[in-house]
Symmetry: C2
Subunit: 354 residues, 2 copies
C-alpha cells in the first residue's frame, strides 16, 4: 500500500470528498519550461528524451518543482506502441511525428503483433518505476497511452493529418482491416497500461486525440468500442489501491453519455462544453477532468483567475472534478500563467468543497 | 418574381413540402473536377478565377452539367471582404490563404472600414448577376460569406492556424479590440450579403469555419452574436421572394439550440452529430443541412448509398432537410462518387416525403 502525501487527485477521480479541486496540466512537462528545453538539448532530441529513463524522470519532475500540481504524468510519447510494433517512429523538426513504414498493404496489417512491454517497451516501464521512486509518494503518477483509433490514424496515415483520408478510406471501404488494426491496438494498449500499473502508475489515461474526427456513427464502432475493450481488461486494483482511469476524446462533447458508459472512472473534456452541462449529462456515473481553453494562459492573471472561477462555479458544489486544460499546454505559455492557474484553482475551489 | 424550374432547395430550407430531399455539395465547384482545373489553369491562379466573373460563372456551372444538383453556389473565396478592406489576400501554392498585412496594431484595427460592395467587391456582384443569368432559373443560386469570427481569424493570424494563438490572445486580453473587428466585419458581411441578394442570390449561407475552436462561453459572445447581427440586417425578401439563410458552424453541434435561435432559417451540420438527434433538439424552429462525412465519397457506390440511407432514415419523415456533406468535398474525390451520392439522395428520399 502506498502512503501518498497528496492523494487529492485520486480521490477526485473516484468522486470521493476532497478539500479543494486538484489540478494537473496536460503536457505539463514541455517546451514552455526552459529547464525542459535544456534537458531536451542534452538528450539530443525528443525521442532520445522519451527513451532514456533518467531524462524522462528529470523532465517529469520539472513542473512539480515549480508548481503545486496534484499529479505527475509519465513523460513519454503517445506513439511508443506502433514504434515497438516496428513501424519506425521518427520526428522531423517542426513537422511532428512520422512513421517510416506506415501500414499500406493488407499483409503488413495481418502481420501486426502485440508488442511485449517487457522488451521493446522496457524503457517506458523503467521510466515509470524510476519516476515513482523519485516522486517518493509526493503526488500520484499517471500512466497513459494513445487510444487504438488515434494510434491507427498515425499508423495508417504515417503522420498527422488534417483530413484522415487514408484511414477513413479504409474505415468506409475495408472496415474489416481497420477493425483488425484496432483490435491489435486495443490488446497492445491493455497490456501496455497494465505493465505501467505494475511498474507504479497510480492512474491511467487514454488519449483519444483524433476520435473527434469520426462521424457520430463511426465513433462508437471504431474508437469507443476499443477503449471499452481496454477498460474491461485493465487492472482496476493493484497492491490494494484502486487505479482510476480517464478517457479523453478531444471533440467528443456530443458523445459524453456513451463515454460515461464505457467503464472509465472519469472523462476528460475539451473547452467546447460547459462543464456544468457535462456534469448534468453524465450524472454521478463518472468524474470530469477539464476544461480551460489553453489560450486563456496567454492572458493576464486577472483573466486567468476569472476564467478559473467560471469553470469552478459551473461545476458547482461537490466532488468529482479534476481541473485541467482542455488540451495540451502551448509551448508559448508563460510559466507564470501556470503558477497563477494552479494557485487560483486551489484557492477558489475550497468553497465548493465545504 | 422568379419562376424557378427547380425550387426544391428553397422549399426545403423553409420547411415546406418537397417531393424529395434536395442536395448540393459544399465546394461542389472545385479541384476534384478536371474541367475546374482546366479553367483554373487558364485563369492563372485561384484568385484570378474568383475575380473574373466569366471564369467564376464557368466554374460555378460545371458541377451542374455533371450532376442533378438542386442548387448552385457562387464561386468565390471566403476572404474577399478582408481583401477589400486592404489586407492584401494572396495564396502561396499548397499553403492556403494569407494576408500581406495582418492586423497587429491597435491603430490598424481602429482604422478598419466597411468596404463598399459596389466598388472593391464589384467583381463578386458581377459574378452573381452573370451566374444568375446563365443559370436561367434552372436551380437557385446561393450567395455566401465567411462569418465575422472566421474572417477575423485570418485577419489577425494572417493565415490559417491550428492554435489560433494571436486571435485568442486578443480575445482574452483585449476583448474590446476583437469586438471592434467583429462589429466592423458584421456590418461588412451584412452589406455584402445584401448586395449579393440584390444581384441575384436566392439564399445565403454564412460559413463559420472556425467558430468551433472557441470555448462554449466565447462562442456566443464572439461568433454567434455577430452572425445574429447579420441575420437581423439581411433582406428576408427580395423581389417578392423569401431569401432563406443558413448558418454553418463547423464543430458547433453542442450549440445547436443557440444557433437555432439566431434568426437563421437553417443550420448546417458537420458529421459528428446524428441528424435525427439534431432535429429533435432544434424542433421545428429551423431546417437542417447536412451531414455526410466527405470521406464516405472515397468508398464504393454500395457504401455511399448505405451511408446516405442512414442519414435520410435518421432525419425521418417530413420536410426541412437539405442533404449535403458535413464539410467541403475533398479534391481527391472521384467525380463518380458525387453522381452516386446525388442520385442516391434523390431516389431514396422520396419515401420520406410521401
Amino acid at each position: 500500500m502506498t502512503k501518498l502525501k497528496n492523494d487529492t487527485f485520486l480521490r477526485a477521480l473516484l468522486r470521493q470528498p476532497v478539500e479543494y479541486t486538484p489540478i494537473w496540466v496536460m503536457r505539463q512537462a514541455g517546451r514552455y519550461l526552459s529547464e525542459y528545453n535544456q534537458t531536451r538539448a542534452r538528450a539530443g532530441n525528443f525521442l532520445a528524451l522519451c527513451k532514456n529513463p533518467d531524462f524522462a524522470t528529470e523532465v517529469t519532475m520539472q513542473p512539480l518543482a515549480r508548481f503545486s500540481l496534484d499529479a505527475a504524468i509519465l513523460f513519454s510519447d503517445i506513439l511508443t506502441i506502433p514504434d515497438a510494433m516496428g513501424l519506425g517512429l521518427y520526428f522531423s523538426e517542426g513537422e511532428g511525428p512520422r512513421f517510416e513504414r506506415p501500414l499500406r498493404e493488407e499483409k503488413e496489417i495481418r502481420d501486426l503483433t502485440v508488442p511485449d512491454p517487457d522488451t521493446h517497451l522496457r524503457y517506458v516501464m523503467d521510466a515509470v518505476s524510476q519516476i515513482r521512486k523519485t516522486l517518493d509518494n509526493q503526488v500520484p503518477l499517471i500512466g497513459f497511452s494513445g487510444s487504438p483509433f488515434t494510434l491507427a490514424c498515425y499508423m495508417v496515415e504515417g503522420r498527422g493529418s488534417s483530413d484522415f483520408r487514408q484511414i477513413k478510406t479504409m474505415l468506409y471501404q475495408r472496415p474489416d482491416l481497420l477493425h483488425h488494426i484496432l483490435d491489435i491496438n486495443a490488446q497492445a494498449v491493455t497490456t501496455y497500461l497494465n505493465a505501467q500499473i505494475e511498474s507504479g502508475a497510480q492512474a491511467v489515461m487514454i488519449f483519444d486525440t483524433w476520435g473527434g474526427a469520426l462521424s457520430h456513427s463511426a465513433y462508437p464502432e471504431f474508437s469507443l468500442r476499443y477503449m471499452q475493450q481496454i477498460l474491461a481488461g485493465l487492472k482496476r486494483e493493484y497492491n490494494g489501491a484502486r487505479i482510476p482511469s480517464v478517457v479523453f476524446t478531444k471533440g467528443g462533447g456530443l458523445w459524453l453519455e456513451q463515454i460515461a458508459n464505457s467503464g472509465c472512472d472519469a472523462i476528460g473534456l475539451d473547452w467546447t462544453i460547459d462543464i456544468g452541462e457535462a456534469r448534468r449529462r453524465v450524472g454521478d456515473k463518472v468524474a470530469l477532468q477539464g476544461n480551460l481553453d489553453p489560450s486563456v494562459l496567454f492572458a493576464s492573471a486577472e483573466v486567468i483567475t476569472a476564467e478559473v472561477e467560471k469553470i469552478l462555479a459551473s461545476y458547482g458544489d461537490g466532488n468529482g472534478h479534476v481541473f485541467n486544460l482542455g488540451h495540451g499546454i502551448s509551448q508559448f505559455t508563460p510559466p507564470e500563467s501556470v503558477a497563477t492557474l494552479v494557485d487560483a484553482v486551489h484557492a477558489i475551489s475550497r468553497k465548493y468543497h465545504e
